[in-house]
Symmetry: C3
Subunit: 482 residues, 3 copies
């Protein structure tokens, strides 16, 4: 739903509407931008400033007063001041008693101060109701109206009424308030706008490293080796042939790495005989970025698909096919049809297509709005069953690609095997270990552990009211897989 | 927004924060997992148990007391006990007076008991405020922190304050509370985690059946027939050629079945002369899973597209093209360019691409987050207008594919026509009937019926305040299409 | 979460549940549909009508009374009456005192009346709590249960309790209530269902115009010109060749137009030396539909990709390649391999693939559910950095496509250059100006302006509490780009 204040078309302006008077402390950029926006949306705005007569650049229509005077004009005071200057609030505690103080400040670094700015403000003015809001919106965006990104404003505060009044103001500005609970959440809300894809860093670095490694590996085998031995100039392969070798390999290795931590965790649980322990930090972190790893792998798989589909358009391929045909026509040699080659080529391609299709499905179900629609049981089904099927199909695709020339010594160049053989190590390991783990005897123990059973405990005691005994039978069906 | 409690990185831990004390009744797996999570997020946790001294495996830092002692330590009591043991609450009614009881239980089957567990609990302890929550989260997920799936916790309860306090706790655990209203909704919330794609079952079964039927149909025509008559071994066609015939056929039939129920409903309404009756159950169910039918069809269409695009890469195709060229070169025969063939081939491909593109658009608008952004009028426009355009384009694509050989007797093998001819029956029927329905005279009657007019009623009476008379003029524009 | 009332399967019907009694004023289509739905979901329904004994067609199970009698039966009264008849409420003010009046009405045109229907109702019955709701749901959808579109019901009202009670009823019907704040929002909510893609109109018109222009341009150069001079019949090119020239050109021009307003805005800001002024209306509107422009461009790019990938399947292409090969075989002429051609062809394709891949990423991040997950900093990073990279790659793709024949006089036909040369004007302009703008000296001034600095102001005054001074250092990193 587009709010009239956002798209600023004269047709839908509601400025004629009577809205609440809002007081803004601070005449910096954010204060001015927010004030302008509020004026546009029908609010009356009063600025509080240390030097009211010296404040310039304020939006026309807004009053400027000293802090105490401004505070008396409104119940709701927006504090657009840097935390370092909060100490002047000590003199205003009486005036601000019972008022709603909206802290909009941000910091320069994550966790810069021991407590959040909003909690600090609440300590300084104990009589006021402090609400944290607006800090996730940029001044520039408010100014330009170009809020194509998130319109979400995280709001938190200890007083429910105060929070709801601030949320109503947020709504009048065409933004979407999201209640984040009590003021304790302020720290998190203040850290939020400073993040830059924290969960994506590891997957992206890892895939970049894999790409670079396999790129140079392929360059050595496919460009330098022929140049040294046959004086062939194959540099044009850098544009398509080599990326189309590096991308699928990276995709397959990353996909295997999505499922590897689950397998490691299962082995750890079997070894320790309990699920009630913390995984090592590296494993924890790895498990938490599996979704991102999988999406990066999907990106590489997508590139591989398009790079493969353009093959017949390439000049080199057309030239080579033409040459083969011409040679054949000149020599009048017969080229018999090989059914086994047709089978190999078609099944290799078909496995790849099906693998990619399932991979895309996995990607779509990881879209936030889709994964919010499925329950845990469904999510487990998709991510675990379909995920392993995808990994199996993609591994089979690579194995069949190798086909007959798999591990023939002639494929070695400078003792280096083809790159795709290296790529098979991780997925094959995962699939073999997974196959062992789902064998009935091991699976049964693992399922019991994941239902709360412990190897070394005296849990034969009759714990009469164990929810797990009964209701976990249902749960285990979807919790038995990571 | 990632909550610090979720990704458990030391940097963002807020465990130092002071949070509410929570009491948990029951020391089973779910109770222990939830307690551990709460401790990690800064809550104090007190367990209530029948045999406090015999309870093992509890997270360190949590106290264990008897039920009445534990209940006195906190306002909020989480009931992680199986419903069968709820009867002991009868002895605790006094202690629990005014407290918030959070029912987290699940059942083993949908609608296992006449009333929901939470309502049953509310009957047992009338003085307490019962809130249903947390049942959609798995113990394993809480334990491992691997909440990549839905973080939504459905909350319902009759007391608003109690509900809001529970929602605040949900937020501190890094989960998203969703208010589902009064305690009546508990039954639905308890059934939710037991579902496994209920709306997808019919579409998937139907498409599997269609696939199998057309697969064997094609195998008979394309593999067994040539083998019997010409001793040709065409088995390699199983990998790509036959799937690429089965998938588009299934996609087209499923797409037609998306629009068939709407057409049937319109005929039923015309026949009965009113819209105020219930459709037969099968039609109701069919109409409700049209979206899923369409998405399955889109999946098959996508597979068809990729299977078609890889054609020039296949060994068989390259071999065949080479052989034709070589034969032509040896015979020095001229191959004149046929403009009509070029037109047929290009328009066939072009129609298919445009149809697939619109189909993708339909798929994208059915994403929950996208369809939430459009209003009814826009949704109707996309799904009805664009939908029929897609069906028309895809049907035309299939018709032009047939081209000149459509219904020539030589195409029959064992009296079986080509599979694509069978595929055309459903979409052509839908398009013809739809074309009749949108003819002005019929469309006018249908529109009146859908605005509330009834053939057999004496509605000539002056119902002075009929909203429909005036405001439905606007509505009919977007309600005139199913 | 599927609500039982929606999919109406007997298994999950909760009609046995005791729900609130609801009174509905008005027996028109919407009133009847809503009443039927409420009866199905377990509510008791009482209709209010001017002529109770003459009302027909009402759902069985509902009582029909006169207005005052019906009003006394329930706290919640749904007003399903057209605004023109609201004046009879004047006689009911006493009976309705303290009751909740739910206004569900819609208008025929956007902003038809000076104040919203709900506010008008609130003026007529000052003692009642007026809540706006249900107007975004169509009667037909309620009737058929086919709510595959948005289930969102926007709710607004001045009394929080009244609003929450209405939201609870909305939830029992299987719909999702969305709190839109106070009754002031009613106007916006009433306008909402009347919109038909307001933000998409300009982008779609613009792209249609571009398509038509380039289509005729290509028809003149590629079909009419050869026909006039060589009597060649190239009409079959209308199906694929010409669309595959028009679509990429339109995509590239639209993509450039996404970034052009940002560049213009930067120049305007530099020229005026301040950010505190309103952009001209056309620029404002242009900036607000950049997302839609980009998505339309992505659609054309997608079509271009598929049209390109089907090239080797086309009859014309196969015929031409075969002819070249046959001629070569007959003449026994050698065709030497050209490394520079291989480089050109491969890098051209590779640049296009990478550009399309990044373009797709941009499209995915503009999905509402994805863009809600990223903060401003991340959004800026993706849309600005990745966006310009995409534009650069796609422009390079077009430049390399031209390759050696770029601007050779032989490519002119009737003095018309190739269409792709026209397409390069807009993106090259944007890239050149952008390159100038990011040069350190200019970028520094621009950044200062966007932090609130003004060229002509006496802002050297010590504004002690300027939030911008400190905290904008963080902000500028993500606000320095539009």
């Amino acid at each position: 739903m587009e709010n009239p204040c956002m798209n600023a078309l004269p047709l839908t302006m509601t400025s004629s509407q009577k809205q609440v008077t809002v007081c803004i402390f601070g005449t910096g950029d954010f204060g001015r931008s927010l004030g302008l926006k509020m004026l546009q949306c029908g609010h009356a705005v009063v600025y509080g400033s240390r030097n009211p007569q010296m404040s310039s650049l304020l939006p026309s229509g807004a009053e400027v007063l000293s802090y105490p005077e401004a505070a008396q004009k409104s119940d709701i005071i927006i504090v657009a001041i840097h935390r370092d200057h909060y100490n002047f609030f000590i003199d205003l505690t009486e005036v601000l008693n019972g008022k709603i103080l909206v802290d909009v400040s941000n910091n320069l670094k994550i966790n810069q101060y021991p407590e959040s700015n909003a909690e600090y403000l609440a300590q300084l003015v104990p009589g006021a109701h402090v609400v944290k809001a607006f800090n996730t919106i940029s001044a520039w965006a408010l100014q330009s109206g170009a809020l194509d990104a998130s319109r979400q404003v995280f709001v938190c505060g200890n007083d429910t009424n105060a929070k709801h009044r601030v949320m109503d103001i947020v709504r009048t500005l065409g933004l979407t308030p999201l209640d984040r609970g009590a003021l304790v959440a302020a720290k998190e809300i203040e850290n939020y706008p400073l993040q830059l894809f924290p969960m994506w860093r590891f997957p992206l670095c890892l895939s970049a490293m894999l790409c670079i490694f396999f790129f140079f590996y392929c360059v050595i085998r496919d460009i330098i080796y022929p140049y040294v031995y046959k004086k062939e100039d194959n540099t044009f392969r850098l544009a398509i042939s080599i990326p189309n070798r590096v991308f699928p390999i990276t995709a397959l290795v990353l996909l295997a790495l999505v499922y590897l931590p689950g397998v490691i965790a299962a082995i750890l649980q079997l070894y320790r005989g309990t699920k009630y322990f913390r995984f090592p930090d590296w494993l924890d972190h790895w498990m938490l970025c599996r979704k991102q790893l999988g999406l990066v792998a999907l990106g590489f798989a997508f590139l591989h698909v398009i790079y493969t589909l353009v093959i017949p358009i390439r000049y080199y391929v057309r030239w080579r096919l033409r040459n083969i045909t011409v040679t054949q026509a000149i020599n009048k040699k017969d080229d018999p049809f090989s059914i086994s080659l047709a089978w190999l080529s078609d099944s290799y391609v078909s496995l790849g297509i099906l693998g990619f299709f399932l991979f895309l499905l996995l990607g779509i179900t990881s879209l936030p709005s889709v994964s919010n629609m499925v329950n845990w049981r469904e999510f487990r089904f998709v991510q675990s069953k379909l995920g392993y099927l995808t990994l199996t199909l993609c591994t089979a695709h690579t194995l069949v690609y190798g086909g007959k020339r798999f591990l023939t010594p002639s494929a070695l160049r400078w003792y280096l095997p083809s790159a795709y053989i290296l790529a098979l190590i991780a997925p094959c390991t995962v699939l073999v270990v997974k196959f062992i783990l789902i064998m009935p005897c091991i699976d049964k123990t693992l399922t019991r552990i994941r239902q709360g059973w412990e190897k070394n405990s005296k849990s034969s005691k009759p714990l009469l009211f164990r929810k797990s005994d009964v209701s976990n039978k249902a749960e285990c069906t979807w919790a038995s897989e990571i």
